[in-house]
Symmetry: C3
Subunit: 469 residues, 3 copies
């Protein structure tokens, strides 16, 4: 029943021979470009400590919410998959892997299937489709390789041809591992990203203690607005000293505000005293985006805004397994009114870069492309999360290019905590962009020499430029 | 001017020769599978009485809102089409048919055209495209066949290779015809579906009398909450005794609530006394979805939720011609917050099945696929109503598969009161799904042996499994 | 680096050879049909005065917000592009052109690129792709031709094979230039369109003075509701005497209202006195749409509704450069509830025509097609503004045809103030419609003889019929 090989050289290229031939040529010009990964969730610790990954289950299943959310949706309990388990013995790990292999058909038509197949074949030399029958052999092969030096994090980083890799970090993170990587003399570029949700979102777990801690870290009195802002400025500088070029903001909505300093200080006072209501929390987050933009104008950090996720929708699952376990659901998201206050203040600053993301595809053509096709500070982030997929990427190009062009977009983000999927994800993005461009060439909307330039920009230059890398 | 034949064997398959060849092979493996029709609006009476259908006009035009809404939109009065007419003589019926044939070009590019052509050719042997010139001949041919034994409802049911056919019924329906079918010894599986809108939606015509009647039917005091709930439980059991496996809920929104029993009882008291306002009516519908889920956990009935239609938008047409005459218009529909209360209560129950439908395609990728790709109780119903069409089906797969996969969907629903269109509708669904899968195979995203399995599941197994048939 | 020729004969046709061959045949049947331009923003003055266009920069860059919004989004200041400049000397104009040519790559994948290439090649014989190297030669060639008699507005109008061209005019416009064209004896059909925003939208700049002026123009007392309505009726008649067949309404939303005459008069009194708040302004606009529909039933003018643009989103740019400079951003737009009051009053009138436009593509399949596929007065306008593009047009057909058919749409609008882009825009629309139809034919959903009829209707008849031209 299994195919001879899991990955075809022409995968994701349109079947039409004319388009496919052009896509192959375009892809040939970009497939081996270095990987620029300006936004993601890998851990600096892996590279600082350079320990082997423990086993296939802990690597591919337990930490990947794309994987276990699908299994859970089909009635397999989280516990049966090791989710939320501190320890896992060898038997358990193997049993979970077998269970996963039996259910591998559930991933048909999903990007997860493609990412996994890529890793299985390209990294582990496994050319037969995963199924119940070969699950044990798969497990053994992967386990053996993970124990070898070539599969340590640093070796993989080099093998993946990564030029730069950004992690995502709280302002409270001491960045010890980033420092350790620098100190080690290893010539890799692994940079922190400043993600201040924990200290700017009053609904974040432990917000008030977090703010107090931020003050302590920077010798500022965070009980008052000026000290709080100074502490944030200092924290950004601390990140910049370790190569950070960007901030990231994961708010429920894209709301921004532009209060006068007195009103902002009063709002902060209510919030930090714990007297603010839900509306004031939202207003405070909104104001903080504008404050971050103001600081970005000063220090040059690029802003990323990732709005629109209803986090922890399943309270029972959240209570038992915590955050980031597949129960975050997108919401309709509005940008035109939401961003207006920030844009009115700083929207015409060409030296500011704000990269917008969305989980609401209806905004691509309606709001995001028109905004990015006008304001000098705005750029469009690549298709995010559920849309980091062939169809999602194709829709993004189809829905944004005609209004925003290619050059108001910023190349690809893998945005992943699944380190081994990084090459696969960039490969999918390069293939889909080449497929899109090949159609434009075949339909005589673009000349092929132009398409080569655009493919190169989408695979490499635009990310470097937008993120100032 | 007319083509030699109306139906081509390769219809709906992409033109690219590679994809088309794969699509043909996939379709070849599913085209003759039995029809599983788990949700629709045919009438048990037809099969109980097994009388001939009266004439082409009464069969194809008068009851089909897809047909007459298009004609009405182009300025043809409802009265000229026999809509809302109790009686129709032979001359009138023929005249209306001619009028319809003259306007048949209006249906170019619509699924109605494809369904009708299928019935004309496959059932009536009419291979020439319908037009003014052949309208009379068409009428005569169809009329003659309708009078023959082979065109009685039961003979057609057998000819259509239907394995199971669900109707949609009010809890007040005595289900006499379903019983009569059983008693007749005819070996067909025609099952009722429990659609309680009339007794759970306070805005439904005659709601209070309906509830009282429900109580009388089941010997319960429906003036109070406990008796009302018992009556509903009993009604469900009565349906189950005649093979019912599912409920169906046609609410304006997807709102759910999870009130404590005291609050629910108090709300019911206000509602049944006629003292509730519009907001309380909405809250009551919301609570009743959760009550239905609770009962489904007990008795195993699958839930279907069909939200988002603004019924009877055209009041003048409603006043003159009643419900279901083509003036129902979709509204933006929200699921993430709306379903949260019910999901918080029962969302993690793997033994519960709730099938979600939508008239708002922007929710496919944003809300529905992420929800169904996480919660064990959720499945996605097929493209509904305006989207029961080639483009609509293709968009559904493109927008849901990457997040929810194929196995969180439930195959096809014809959802029709147009009995003769059932084979055509299932054929369209099978063709479009095969076309979608063929592209995945041609782009090396799926192996062909897998695509065969998926095509089979989409055409047959998933409907049986999801609806517990 | 430059291609031999910028325009390929098969541009915008799908690459698949079967579909492309059909598309070519369909396009061959419509490519040379006269242009019907029932809605746009060219100026009657150009044709009345028939002066040469000054230079390439003033023709192609300064007035075209599609062009300079893209350049501005990439950090080029408006001032560097001559926007908002009253005068421009030859050096400046040439320098701006060079700057534009250097940035021409930014337009890759946009319709602007296609429109410009069309004009460059078809009108000016420039077959080499515009770039920095040939910018000067381009400038000289275009300048020279613009000075020649063949490039005067009237000569171009004739060369473009325009059958009828509608402008857009305020009720305060004396229509002097339209009269002058008539008086000149030149046999062109250039008609005004009645766009009353300035006198029916209380938020319009100078609303109260505008209304007073309207009254003076027509000898009516516009301080009171009856005189105001009479003045509007008279103004419409004045437009009709110069050939006007349509009105146009550019409101923020699609809201309509149906107040009784007393309430309407009272609302007008508050509005005209300057005592109304934002909600009352919105209600007044809503009521005025219904008043316009009432007048249209009397005088036969077709209504166009263009809702959903957040005008002048960038206040700084608005303050410095005024309206229509690329900072208008679409908003989510709701039609089902918004249009209900007007439709309840006049929706079943087959002699009324209301053409709906949208900037919110999520409404195509959800709201607009179902509405137009039912109400006799409703038609769907073509893809508008950001969607006047190949992808936008294809989505429009894919999302509306199955429910509304082809015959509830109204052909193409170029909707442009860029006169030289008119042939290119109609050409794109004809190509994309033929590509869409060719796929339907190749997939055996439509016979080719039918597709020829539809292509003809979309390119020519439907616009004439819907706009009563």
């Amino acid at each position: 029943m299994n195919a001879v090989t899991t990955l075809h050289d022409d995968r994701l290229f349109p079947s039409d021979p004319t388009i496919r031939a052009i896509a192959r040529r375009l892809y040939g010009a970009v497939r081996n470009l270095p990987i620029v990964s300006p936004h993601g969730h890998t851990e600096a610790r892996w590279f600082a400590e350079n320990q082997p990954f423990p086993n296939p289950t802990s690597l591919f299943i337990v930490p990947d919410h794309y994987v276990f959310r699908m299994l859970y949706s089909q009635g397999i309990a989280m516990e049966e998959l090791g989710v939320g388990q501190a320890e896992m013995n060898a038997d358990e790990a193997r049993r979970i892997w077998i269970r996963f292999a039996e259910s591998y058909f559930l991933f048909r038509g999903t990007p997860t299937r493609m990412w996994l197949d890529f890793a299985f074949q390209e990294l582990f030399g496994l050319n037969e489709r995963l199924c119940a029958a070969n699950a044990g052999a798969y497990y053994d092969t992967i386990s053996a390789k993970l124990a070898s030096p070539a599969f340590r994090p640093r070796a993989l980083y080099d093998q993946f041809n990564i030029e730069v890799l950004a992690t995502t970090n709280s302002p409270l993170d001491p960045l010890t591992y980033h420092q350790a990587i620098r100190d080690s003399g290893w010539k890799a570029r692994i940079l922190p990203t400043f993600r201040p949700d924990a200290v700017v979102d009053p609904d974040f777990d432990g917000f008030r203690q977090n703010v107090q801690r931020l003050g302590e870290m920077h010798g500022e009195d965070c009980a008052a607005w000026p000290g709080y802002l100074r502490a944030l400025r200092n924290a950004r500088q601390r990140f910049q000293q370790l190569g950070c070029t960007a901030t990231d903001h994961g708010h429920p909505t894209a709301s921004t505000a532009d209060l006068d300093p007195t009103a902002a200080a009063a709002l902060f006072a209510r919030v930090i005293a714990g007297h603010a209501d839900a509306g004031e929390h939202e207003l405070f987050r909104a104001q903080m985006l504008t404050e971050m933009a103001r600081m970005s104008l000063e220090d040059g950090l690029v802003m990323q805004i990732h709005p629109g996720s209803r986090r922890n929708h399943n309270r029972q699952v959240f209570t038992r397994f915590g955050r980031d376990v597949g129960a975050d659901i997108p919401m309709p998201t509005e940008y035109v009114h939401a961003l207006q206050p920030l844009l009115e203040r700083f929207g015409n600053e060409a030296s500011l870069t704000i990269i917008l993301f969305t989980l609401d595809e209806s905004t691509y053509s309606r709001e995001l492309a028109p905004l990015a096709g006008h304001y000098p500070c705005l750029r469009l982030g690549p298709p995010w999360w559920f849309y980091d997929s062939p169809e999602g990427m194709m829709r993004f190009r189809e829905l944004t290019t005609e209004t925003a062009g290619f050059y108001n977009t910023v190349g690809f983000n893998d945005d992943t905590r699944a380190f081994l999927s990084i090459p696969a994800r960039h490969d999918v993005a390069r293939r889909v962009d080449c497929a899109f461009l090949a159609r434009l060439v075949a339909e005589h909307q673009l000349d092929e020499d132009e398409a080569v330039e655009v493919a190169h920009a989408l695979a490499y230059e635009l990310a470097r430029k937008a993120y100032r890398l």
